[in-house]
Point group: C2
Chain length 98, copies 2
C-alpha cells in the first residue's frame, strides 16, 4: 500500500464559493480515477503549520500510483486547477514501516 | 476524529541500530497511551521532501488528544528521546472535511 498525501493552502478566501468549488471538483474528478482505493478530504487543524487542507489517497502499489499520476483527468486537474488555485503545498507519501 | 501526524528525519544513520531502537521504543511507549485509537509507523517515500518516517495517531476528539499530549509517558518521550534524536519534523493534524 502507498498512501499519497498532499497538504496545502488555497489562494481563495476561507469559506468562499471558490474554495468550496475547488474541493468539490477535486473530489468529483480525482476520486473516481482508477487505482484510487481510499480518497479523503481533510481539514488541517494544527497551529504549528500554515496549511489548511489535505487530500489522502491510497494505492495498492507503485504501478497503480503511477497510472493515477499519468491519468489524463489527473494531469488536466493539476494543470488547470491545482497550479492555478493552490498557493503552497507539500506532498508526503507513506508506506507501512517494517 | 482527529488524526495527529508527524513526519520526521532522525539524526541516526539509516538502518542503524539506533534508528531501529528509536522506532521500536516509540511504538512501545506511545501506542499504549490511553486515547490512541490507531497508531501507524510509516516510511516516507516521496522524493519531493527530505523526511524519512512518519507516525500517525487517531483520537476520538480534542479531549483525548490533549490527554495524550499531557500524559507523562508522552511528555517523557518527547523530552528524553524525540528532542534528542530527531533532526527535523513537521506536525500535521487532520479532521475530516465537511
Amino acid at each position: 500500500m502507498i498512501r499519497h498525501t498532499v497538504v496545502f493552502r488555497l489562494k481563495h478566501k476561507e469559506n468562499s464559493a471558490e474554495e468550496k468549488k475547488f474541493l468539490a471538483d477535486a473530489k468529483r474528478i480525482l476520486a473516481p480515477i482508477p487505482g484510487v482505493e481510499k480518497f479523503e478530504q481533510l481539514r488541517q487543524v494544527s497551529p504549528k503549520n500554515d496549511y489548511r487542507f489535505g487530500f489522502s489517497f491510497e494505492f495498492a502499489d507503485q504501478a497503480a500510483y503511477s497510472a493515477y499520476n499519468d491519468h489524463p483527468d489527473h494531469v488536466a486537474f493539476v494543470r488547470d486547477r491545482w497550479l492555478q488555485e493552490v498557493e503552497t503545498f507539500l506532498e508526503i507519501d507513506y508506506v507501512p514501516l517494517g
